[in-house]
Amino acid sequence: MAALAYITALNQALHDEMARDDRVCVFGEDVRIGLTQVAKGLHDRFGDGRVVDTPLSEQAFTSLATGAAMAGQRPVVEYQIPSLLYLVFEQIANQAHKFSLMTGGQVEVPVTYLVPGSGSRSGMAGQHSDHPYSLFAHVGIKTVLPATASDAYGLLLSAVRDPDPVAVFAPSALMGTVEEVSGELGPVPLGSARIHRTGEDVTVVATGQCVHVALAVAEAMADEASIEVVDPRTIYPVDWETIRASAEKTGRLVVIDDANRMCGFGGEVLATAAEQFDLTARPRRVTRPDGAVIPYALVLDQALLPDAAQLTDAIRAVLK
């Protein structure tokens, strides 16, 4: 067993994959000094030709990655703020994502979009605190949200190796966390969920940092109910089979997801459950409110994020 920090795992994945595959290159702001730690040491090791410090031209460098990918590279593009993905939504959703179908399969666009520090950063306020992965899922971008260091390593590796564009959201709340890992680190396939804890009474589907909230609540409620915690890991495409099997086993479903409620991933799980799963109780979701904008004051920021108390209430409600 060794302690692996989440941020180190992301960095290690890039080191390993760049060493393994010469086509992998990194674009982003302040990647030369590895400001966010994700790119730490890459410039020293791989040089200017593969680690490119970009001016503040997110749109152009995002599509530059598309062009480079079409010409045979496998770029990883780092964004310092989750909302910078809004700035490049056209370049990802309307360009990179669509080339494969529009060309009738003539070309692949293997680009990875990496956001280290998604979600609230406690005190970074309205424009730095969104968690917009559901938008990417809606338009059909492969989207991953690793909850632990080993998943961060393995999913980032798979994202870089994938022939399609993949967005990787690494929640700010997890950056400093550490996982005890045993054995070799390896790729984690996209589209496969991870059952973190087995249980018999309720299935909690939890994403990103909410996985840890769910595990803590499951522990705290152990006397009341046996709770299974499932992390989809990939927001799109979803491992529906694992989620369904768990939900039908327990008959009860609660989702906790740190995104806006309306048209978010949590809602998609409930909708799919309503169509297809056999449940014995109404499902519940714990999310940010509809259309939330995170205010600055910490107490307001926290008031809008899904938390343990809300999850506990929701679990009790489905147990009733």
């Binding site: 290159c25 030709g49 593969r50 970009t54 001016p55 031209s57 749109q59 152009a60 460098f61 995002t62 599509s63 530059l64 990655a65 598309t66 062009g67 480079a68 990918a69 079409m70 010409a71 045979g72 590279q73 056209e90 370049q91 309307n94 360009q95 080339f99 494969s100 179908l101 529009m102 060309t103 009738g104 399969g105 003539q106 070309v107 692949e108 666009v109 293997p110 059909g140 492969k142 994938d162 022939p163 399609d164 589209g191 495409p237 169509e275 297809q276």
Partner: protein
């Protein structure tokens, strides 16, 4: 073919584009090409002149008005027209149509429905060429309208900063749909580009020779590692912005202006540089080619609706359908 004099090759390419476009326009108006087209007629000297400086290994990104670029880069007119007719024999297997026609095997990274979107993509291909040091060049075609588009201006900066082997070709036909350039652009295209550190010049876009010379110079500089270029090609579209304009008639250019530019028809200019017999032979050859293309396109079959999501993901990921009972 490369033994032929450049003037002849330019003429052939331009004649091909012209005939192709005239046939497409008719097929758009008759409804055979469903989405209509943005006709390239009048601008042939630009595509022909630029692509004359390129090899098959070089890359181009094109625009909504892309047929000329795709053909000049060497795409098969049969498969191109089949694409516009939405058949499986089309370049994109009927998935792309006029605004996304691509032949990646020839370095055509596609027409593009979003103005300016191709410029940074071309810069990205150029970045890749630079990294590999293989001497290839990328060309981004775009209209005057794209000079106001943020991503294009960002791409200018990155290309100049990193000295990428990319040539930005602005086809200044004076209008972005109905908006004349003087109500769209403060300053001058060449000065704007120069302000980004690009080697920039204007060229007569109605003269294929002039364009080909300028292109050869810019492309060679790129190949030698001499950095990117910007070429403003002053040209004109003889027809409406889109084929629907032939039907509705929008009133934003005056007839005299259209007439003046039509009098400078680049195809006619180029024909004067080729001897009559050669020109006649090319005309006949192209005419047959286009007839065959029309026949080929009409004979194609529509894709199978069950395959509507094929190619959505390169790894074959199958999305859920729209209804699950």
């Amino acid at each position: 073919m490369s033994a032929e004099p450049r003037a002849v090759r330019l003429y052939r390419t331009m004649r091909l584009i012209r005939e192709f476009e005239e046939r497409c326009l008719a097929m758009s108006l008759s409804g055979e090409i469903v989405g209509g087209i943005h006709p390239y007629i009048g601008q042939e000297a630009v595509a022909a002149g630029i692509c004359a400086a390129l090899t098959e290994d070089d890359v181009v990104t094109s625009t909504h008005r892309g047929h000329g670029h795709v053909l000049a880069k060497g795409a098969d007119p049969k498969r191109m027209l089949a694409e516009l007719c939405g058949t499986t024999a089309g370049l994109n297997r009927g998935r792309g149509g006029s605004m996304h026609a691509a032949d990646v095997s020839l370095g055509v990274y596609g027409a593009n429905g979003i103005v300016g979107a191709g410029a940074p993509i071309a810069a990205g291909a150029a970045w890749s060429f630079q990294r590999r040091g293989d001497g290839r060049v990328a060309v981004a075609f775009f209209g005057d309208g794209a000079l106001s588009q943020g991503v294009v201006l960002e791409a200018f900066n990155l290309a100049a900063l990193w000295q990428l082997p990319v040539v930005f070709v602005c086809e200044n036909n004076g209008y972005a749909t109905s908006l004349p350039l003087n109500r769209a652009l403060a300053g001058d295209p060449v000065e704007r580009a120069a302000g980004f550190g690009l080697t920039a010049r204007a060229v007569d876009g109605m003269d294929a020779d002039a364009v080909a010379d300028a292109a050869a110079e810019a492309v060679e500089r790129c190949r030698r590692g001499g950095g990117p270029a910007f070429l403003e090609c002053r040209t004109y579209r003889f027809n409406g912005h889109h084929s629907f304009e032939e039907q509705v008639g929008l009133n934003y250019r005056d007839d005299a202006e259209v007439g003046e530019w039509r009098a400078r028809d680049p195809l006619r200019t180029q024909s004067t540089r080729v001897d009559g017999a050669t020109a006649g032979a090319i005309d006949a050859e192209i005419s047959t080619l286009i007839d065959e293309a029309v026949e080929f396109a009409r004979a194609g079959r529509a894709p199978d609706p069950a395959e509507a999501l094929h190619h959505l993901y390169a790894d074959g990921t199958t999305p859920r359908p729209g209804v699950m009972i």
